[in-house]
Symmetry: C2
Subunit: 302 residues, 2 copies
């Protein structure tokens, strides 16, 4: 720090991963709903999740921040506490940044650098016909948490916590990459409907998801029941769960399930890769197969 | 592009340089004075200059951008034209980014990654007593250019061009680093007064600058004369000239001057490093020595 640029030493024989995320007040967060600590945490979580989805090890972060004159120093401290709390957990070093005045709202751009062995890096484009589709944990919690927050209900729910303080799957992404278990991987930051589509488009394949196999938390099931809605809807339509979705060749599924049953890797099979011509479909609770849309699925059975 | 993070291969045995710059509408630029193409150019120039000041080779860039709904697509294209024009000149690859809506003004965060051989990297902290101080070109032009722009005078002046489209000294910074000519280096992005202070503080030294030796362009001299001001004032008080300031051991000055006279490296001697106790002073046109302040120098002779 203090020099014109930060200087770091990369590990030998590793490639570099670079990701960036922009958070804008009034668009990506609302200071009424999101305290500063949470914005710091979420900015770091989103970037860590991107590195995790490539199978990488996060290493260095830089922050660019624009703050209105009214911002209290305490708020900036809380932002960095949230950011650094998660950064330290994954041994990420904050190596630089730039702070500017903002005539309007708060804006944060976070930049994260990671590394990965050339032959371990995972992309979205390696999925092949017949691969099984797995996710690392229950989906839909963050989406339901945001809904609760917006209704200004008491914030004690674990769903709200999952929205405010998501935990990226860095360790799991790394394990999947070092064991070369997956053919493709993506993190669920926009919701299953839209992120699965990205993976399928990049790989030139289709997919069939089984609604009944989407893992759901007990909290989400209870909440959805109270709301009279299908809990799967929260998983499909959006939400920043930051679970990983990955595809596995049938011949490697056995090894994956061993890791899963020994408690080393949470993994839930939710469907399989099909041909591009087949498109992306969902088998509903009525066992009928329907087209999946970016916002979930057209004829949602409620 | 398209994956969660960009994947690049670093050169063997090189360290990584990382820099970031944030540009906020209404603070760092004004869309009335700065067209979009210029904002793209300037964002890239400021980051390239940071890498140049460390003696590095710029390699990869990522952009995070927040745009109000009223922004026309044409404006975004012009921004990228300005950015990429300069990026291509230095073989910088744009490897990613994030665009978001902005409820208010335009905000741009640019991240630039470079590389440098471990023993070639230059910092601000290596200047030693007796070192000579050099700059790579005339100072004050960009500052005067901004003054002209603000007065809404016709914009044909080369001073305005130097403010809007500065050229970072990437080639020169690299030459200084590979020849190991300098003990410390910094880019002049805030003005001589303030950037020299940063270098002296980091190195734990003082400095004596000779006002008469500050290189000035003919355009600045003519403009200052018309304004009835000392042209050196523009160099000291601010401005984003993006020239490099570097310090050289007396034993290496001969080699530097050979490079200079062969036209390979513009270099102008403007003073020398003194003890920390001596502080930072300026020898004025009257040959009297006075304390230098961040904004220039206290008793400016006009």
């Amino acid at each position: 720090m203090g020099d014109d640029a930060a200087l770091v030493r990369p590990a030998a024989h590793r490639h570099i991963l670079i990701t960036t995320d922009l958070l804008i007040e009034g668009i990506d967060f609302n200071l009424g709903l999101s305290p500063f600590r949470q914005i710091g945490h979420k900015a770091m979580a989103a970037n860590l999740s991107d590195i995790a989805a490539m199978g990488g090890i996060p290493r260095y972060a830089a922050v660019a921040m624009a703050l209105p004159g009214r911002t209290r120093m305490k708020s900036v401290d809380l932002f960095y506490e949230g950011l650094m709390g998660l950064a330290k957990k994954y041994h990420v070093r904050l190596i630089g940044g730039d702070t500017s005045a903002s005539p309007h709202g708060v804006m944060v751009a976070l930049f994260l650098i990671g590394e990965v062995e050339p032959k371990r890096a995972l992309t979205r484009s390696g999925a092949r016909l017949g691969d099984r589709i797995f996710v690392t944990g229950p989906l839909g919690d963050a989406n339901a948490g945001l809904e609760i927050l917006k209704r200004r209900k008491p914030h004690r729910s674990p769903l709200v916590r999952r929205h405010l303080y998501p935990i990226p799957r860095v360790k799991e992404g790394r394990l999947i990459a070092t064991r070369r278990l997956a053919t493709a991987m993506v993190d669920l930051s926009d919701g299953l409907g839209s992120d699965l589509r990205h993976l399928c488009e990049a790989s030139g394949v289709g997919a069939r998801i089984d609604l009944a196999r989407i893992p759901l938390s007990a909290a989400l099931s209870a909440y959805a029941k109270r709301m009279g809605r299908d809990p799967c809807r929260y998983a499909l339509e959006g939400g920043e769960d930051f679970e990983l979705l990955f595809t596995v060749r049938p011949s490697r599924v056995h090894e994956l399930l061993r890791l899963q049953s020994s408690g080393r890797l949470p993994a839930f099979s939710i469907g399989e890769i099909t041909s591009k011509r087949h498109g992306i479909t969902i088998v509903g609770h009525d066992r009928r197969e329907r087209k999946m849309t970016a916002r979930g699925y057209e004829h949602f059975a409620e």
